[in-house]
């Protein structure tokens, strides 16, 4: 596999094309590949959709874990579960041309205190676990690495099966 292919276009929430609570892929860099794969009966967009869907589910599980009472202010004493209910349980991939993105974490259309917990307030420190997911680079770098490994494994199985 040529090394240049490995650079890929997967970007975490720190990427410029995507919002903080989004994860996306720009597959225009893989276009040459797409034609070759088409010949093998594989659909690159479908592979990416599957990978991002799985990434969304991982983030959803980690966000739910971060909302454990022990991570909430006053150990969750005042939690009314609204924010936990606002975690996007079934994130969906949306495509716009070669850009695919998936919403991560909290569903912005529902009232919730997600961003409140991520940024903290003068009287409340940020939720460390949520910061890990949505602010620190290590987490999104890990997701990008997982995506690329998954992607390469998928390609190898397709090419190997030709």
């Amino acid at each position: 596999m040529p090394r240049t292919r490995r650079r890929g276009g997967a970007r975490g929430s720190k990427g410029g094309k995507f919002k903080r609570n989004q994860f996306g892929i720009d597959w225009s860099e893989f276009e040459g590949f797409a034609e070759e794969l088409d010949g093998l009966g594989a659909d690159l967009q479908e592979i990416f959709t599957d990978i991002m869907q799985q990434t969304g589910e991982t983030v959803q599980e980690d966000t739910t874990e971060a909302m454990d009472a022990s991570n909430l202010p006053a150990k969750g004493q005042f939690s009314r579960q609204k924010t936990i209910k606002a975690i996007d349980k079934s994130p969906k991939v949306r495509w716009s041309g070669s850009l695919g993105d998936i919403g991560l974490g909290f569903d912005k259309s529902k009232p919730n205190a997600g961003s409140f917990l991520i940024t903290g307030t003068p009287r409340m420190q940020p939720n460390y676990k949520l910061e890990d997911i949505f602010v620190r680079k290590k987490y999104s770098k890990g997701l990008t690495k997982d995506i690329m490994e998954f992607f390469m494994a998928e390609l190898e199985s397709i090419v190997g099966g030709k």
Partner: protein, 115 residues
Amino acid sequence: MVDNLIELLQSFNYPVIRQGSLAPDAAYPDTFFTFWNSDEAGHSFYDNDTANVDWTFQVNVYSTDPDKCYSLLGEARTLLKSAGYVIATRGYDLQSDEITHIGRGMVVMYLKNEN
């Protein structure tokens, strides 16, 4: 790095406190800064050691005066950028514990050479 950030923000003559450190019964000052060190991650490595460290901070302004909130964050952005901080955003709204105050924040980064 934290000391450097505090020193720069204090030059505006408003209180500077760590996010979450205000006592539950303490009143919000009329206008003030808060900061939070979100990350201090190794950026590059040489000879089995960290060569550069990526510092990431949240810098926030809370105020009873919305105009002040926006303008002060803008001034802080200009000052921090001139001191070598990298700031990609112009700011975002923050919720405050008090209905009398509004908040605006930004993420600022500094790439510090360890040698």
